[in-house]
């Protein structure tokens, strides 16, 4: 699908506002002047396209893609789901990138100094393209909770960061996925930035026993919705050619 159609307006009431004092870093990093609303041109309805040749065969297997002397330690987990747009249509061949801490809540990053150790066999990032149905899947280690300097005793629930492109740059989205039943979810300052109370639920992956591999690996299901394009009725095309 190579539609030139404009995107539906982003529903800003779904998303966290920029300025959310509950999450302290946002206070100095949030614009105070309202965003200028910009109707779509070609600059917004187009976006980068990626090809399978750019990815490696283990890019979506975080258990093996940094294995040096053995496999990563922790709860082996499959995460899978569909990327759809707001009209319910699959978003195919779009790049999904993920990153996360290891089983102990430690990130492989030069700026992370948390006392939990690095796992020498776990990198913590992966990427994949959705198929023609918008489906993606990857294998990983379930990440641990980890503390961060917000309040004195703030802890993030177990989470996996997601980056998704879509078919136009205006669909660009970064979010976080949480795990069903995590008791830290109601205490989290980052989830609390979202005003829509059903949002935490939509960011929470469900245990999916049917997709698990017996005696090997549990599975979680996480679907992602990007903005849809308008069904353009009685209107000139976006670009008159």
């Amino acid at each position: 699908m190579t539609s030139q159609a404009e995107f539906h307006q982003r529903d800003r009431d779904i998303h966290p506002p920029a300025h959310t004092p509950v999450y302290k870093t946002s206070v100095l990093r949030s614009p105070r002047i309202p965003l200028w609303s910009l109707q779509n041109s070609l600059s917004e309805v187009t976006g980068p396209i990626f090809s399978p040749a750019e990815l490696g065969p283990l890019d979506n297997d975080l258990v093996l893609n940094y294995a040096k002397q053995g496999e990563a330690i922790g709860e082996q987990t499959i995460v899978h789901g569909y990327v759809l747009d707001g009209n319910g249509q699959p978003v195919s061949n779009t790049l999904v990138e993920v990153w996360q801490a290891n089983a102990g809540g430690r990130y492989r990053h030069r700026n992370d100094t948390y006392i939990a150790p690095i796992d020498p066999n776990f990198g913590g990032c992966g990427r994949m393209l959705t198929d023609e149905r918008g489906y993606y899947f990857f294998r990983t280690i379930k990440p641990g909770a980890y503390p961060f300097r917000n309040r004195i005793n703030s802890w993030r629930p177990a989470h996996i960061h997601f980056s998704v492109f879509g078919t136009g740059f205006a669909q660009r989205l970064i979010t976080q996925m949480y795990f069903e039943g995590d008791p830290l979810i109601p205490h989290d300052s980052i989830i609390a930035t979202v005003p829509d109370k059903s949002a935490a639920d939509r960011l929470t992956a469900r245990l999916d026993l049917n997709a698990s591999r017996p005696l090997e690996c549990l599975a979680y299901r996480f679907d992602i919705v990007l903005r849809g394009r308008r069904q353009t009725l009685f209107e000139n095309k976006l670009q008159g050619s």
Partner: protein, 212 residues
């Protein structure tokens, strides 16, 4: 009896969350401090086979206290030298440069806060509904710790005064002073053309951000 037609309802978008301080792990693992992928995306997209004038875009991101933010992800999306996007929805009758995707990704330096994109200067792209050409510009998208939802802005070129004056997007910004926050001055350094685009997240010199 006629069956009730199925009317699909719209699905709400997945809510955004901050990219956090370790965004590099997933999107720029080499900057995080390790090698994992055979092929990494980068901010250097002016490969030898790409047509157009080589330029560097660089700058810093400032927070509301005037402090340089050193953990910001920056992505840019732009047309090629002829003014065409490498995307099937762009059907302008202009040359397509297959070796130029038009998308760059980089991070601000952990020490200096400087970001650098090596690219080519884009041509002018037709405006909304084909009405009026937009001045050459590069679309920016920022994400980082403390930014709850990605910030979209545009960079225009300081040496395109006439085109900038006529640009349909710059002209929707009510205050002329604020338009200037999107215009990057040109300079030359060691024979290379450099456009300096500093971004102010908040405060007196706050950059214009768009709801696209």
């Amino acid at each position: 009896m006629t069956p009730t037609p199925f009317i699909p309802s719209y699905l709400p978008e997945t809510p955004s969350q901050t990219a956090g301080p370790y965004v590099h792990i997933g999107l720029m693992p080499e900057q995080a401090g390790f090698e994992i992928f055979a092929n990494n995306f980068s901010g250097d997209i002016a490969t030898p086979d790409v047509a157009g004038q080589r330029i560097i875009i660089e700058g810093r991101i400032f927070d509301g206290a005037g402090h340089v933010a050193k953990d910001v992800l920056i992505e840019t999306w732009q047309a090629n030298a002829a003014g065409r996007y490498n995307h099937p929805a762009d059907t302008q009758n202009k040359a397509l440069d297959h070796g130029f995707r038009g998308w760059a990704r980089t991070g601000t330096d952990f020490t200096t806060g400087l970001y650098t994109i090596r690219t080519i200067k884009p041509g002018s792209v037709v405006g909304r509904k084909g009405r009026k050409a937009m001045a050459p510009h590069v679309n920016f998208w920022l994400a980082s710790r403390g930014i709850n939802i990605g910030l979209a802005t545009r960079m225009y070129f300081g040496d395109e005064e006439a085109a900038n004056t006529d640009d349909p997007v710059l002209n929707i910004i009510e205050q002329p002073e604020r338009r200037k926050t999107l215009i990057a001055p040109r300079s030359e350094r060691d024979g290379v053309v450099v456009y300096t685009f500093d971004i102010h997240l908040q405060g007196q010199r706050e950059t214009v951000f768009f709801d696209v």
